[in-house]
Amino acid sequence: MQLVLQIVANGLLIGGLYALLAVGLTLIFGVLRVVNFAHAEFMMLGMYGAYWLWSIYGLDPYVSVFLITPVVFLLGVAVDRLVVQRSIGKPDVTVVFATLGLSILLQNAALTLWRADIRSVSTFATGSVFVVGGVRLSVAMTVSFAAALLFALGLWFFLTRTMYGKAIQAVAQNRRAAALMGIDVKRVYLFTYSVAVAAAGAMGVLVAPIFTIFPRVGQTHIVTIFVIVVLGGLGSVPGAVVAALLVGIIRAGAGFLIGTAWGELAYFAVFLLVLIVRPQGFFGRRGAEVYGG
């Protein structure tokens, strides 16, 4: 029983961190109809940002997150203008491979600039653990989890409570109608993309004390994020959160029960199965897979 609780707790913590990435990815899909293959690269950049500010200036990631997130936001603005916006409305091959190309570019730019060395950041929380009801929790994980949750809540509040958020939702529902209502669709795209990748960057900073940092780190996580957003229904924000927590728990459980590698295989198989049987995911609207292109 203790063990089950421990696994669930670990899974929830990691799932919460994934949620921040997944919410952004699913938002970009829902609004722009683009699968952002480069999404996890922004997390990677956030991680490196945290690393350099920490190793050069001794800045704690929990502080530098407030510096790095706006920078990644601006980077998102540039990428949206130069790449993403130009691919919208073009054939599938353009939409898919533009961000895939960007992902290859960013990964290898990082590799060239910063080498393949594995780096890590240690903070006051590194290595320390606290115990709740017999369950041991990493302090770093818990702090990052809480921060991620705050970010996600802020995003949700923004989407549902502000005029701008409502404009974004209107575009997600029907871009033509939204345009007719006088909403500047292009600006909504720009804003959505930048906010979403900034969230990924923030997540990168927050996990810098937990995960090892290397140029291809995005790639090791992006597929898990794909699994999450598809399970939750591409385009569904609440779906992404629930699926992220679920995948976190499944990962932790499967990793313990059948070993990491085969556990990974198991959830890819589930992913494939979901795509085939219920491509709209568990929370997505039916028909999304048809009009999804």
């Binding site: 491979f97 190309g101 060239t112 790639q219 597929v223 494939l272 085939i276």
Partner: protein
């Protein structure tokens, strides 16, 4: 059949050009003595075949696959394992690999034919990763990350040669096979069906085109040819491991080669390999692996954003201009 922009080359003209190119390629080992260049040439031939295979389902049928490395890997491992474990020559193993890949491809086709755009892409990506994970972890069969070494036993009857030129001709044979199949499909009933489905599935169905059958056949043929390329690759390099056969990056590069050259056309992917592979090699030598991939990523982005019809469209435009020029000269003379 004419696709995208009207081809300036008549089918007969294309055939003559292809025949001329083939004669030139046959002469290459007689002219090129430099081992390094010939080695690169063989790599280009294998990549050209692989991209051509991808193009049959990715280009003609429009199913952008990011899992084709799986089929390449199935080919490489099947022929290699049959040779290592049972002593069966890769000349036979290549067919076994093709059949196995065709079955896998058909299975993937059956389960994904309904999916559109990004959903199809993600499904093929997941499929590729599943195969890669199995490859890495089924150590009893594949020896996992340690890889498999092909011992040099028996020589030509086992697709193992001492001379590079022999590999060149093997690679060329592979290319002739894949391009031949691709041309055959392009000019066949199936070719018309695939392009019709790609352009508008509902309209195609309403005209009597059967979706599942057409897409599954295309997927199976595409997978089988990719597997053939895998078997030849294994015999050429004589060492295979998961990273060099089933990795996700490989799947991306297969699609990249076809797209840069021009997907949906028979010769686009071949042109793509002739451009991308030497360019990559040169960049790697000058700048190192990471920087080379930066250029790859940039190239991919720029091509899909500005010239989604690929390099072949440029070639066609050039041929058309040249023709017009010659025509106008002739008229002026007359």
């Amino acid at each position: 059949m004419r696709i995208s922009d009207a081809s300036p080359i008549s089918p007969a003209g294309a055939r003559i050009a292809a025949a001329a190119a083939l004669v030139l390629l046959l002469c290459v080992p007689l002219v090129v003595r430099d081992i390094y260049r010939l080695d690169l040439g063989i790599t280009v031939l294998i990549w050209a075949s692989l991209a051509t295979a991808w193009n049959i389902s990715g280009g003609f049928a429009g199913g952008l696959s990011l899992g084709h490395a799986a089929f390449f890997g199935v080919g490489a491992y099947t022929s290699t394992l049959l040779f290592l474990r049972l002593g069966i020559t890769p000349w036979i193993g290549i067919f076994a690999g093709a059949v196995l890949a065709a079955m896998l491809g058909a299975l993937l086709g059956v389960i994904t034919f309904r999916l559109k755009g990004p959903f199809f892409v993600l499904a093929t990506l997941a499929f590729g990763i599943v195969v890669h994970i199995i490859n890495v972890n089924w150590r009893g069969l594949t020896r996992g990350a340690a890889g498999l070494l092909l011992p040099f036993r028996g020589g030509p009857q086992n697709m193992l040669f001492l001379n590079l030129w022999a590999y060149w001709y093997t690679g060329l044979g592979l290319l002739v096979l894949t391009v031949g199949v691709s041309m055959g499909i392009e000019r066949s009933r199936l070719g018309y069906y695939l392009v019709a489905l790609r352009e508008d599935e509902d309209a195609a169905r309403s005209l009597g085109v059967r979706v599942v059958r057409s897409k599954v056949i295309a997927a199976a043929v595409s997978a089988a040819l990719a597997a053939c390329a895998g078997s030849v690759y294994a015999a050429f390099i004589q060492y295979i491991d998961p990273d060099s056969t089933t990795q996700f990056e490989l799947s991306v590069q297969i699609a990249l080669v076809a797209i840069v050259g021009g997907m949906g056309t028979t010769f686009g992917p071949v042109l793509g390999a002739a451009i991308v592979i030497p360019l990559g090699e040169m960049l790697r030598a000058r700048l190192g692996g990471g920087a080379a991939l930066v250029v790859y990523g940039f190239l991919l982005m720029v091509i899909v954003l500005t010239a989604p019809n690929g390099a072949i469209a440029g070639v066609r435009l050039l041929v058309r201009r040249l023709r017009r020029l010659i025509d106008s000269r002739r008229k002026a003379d007359a």
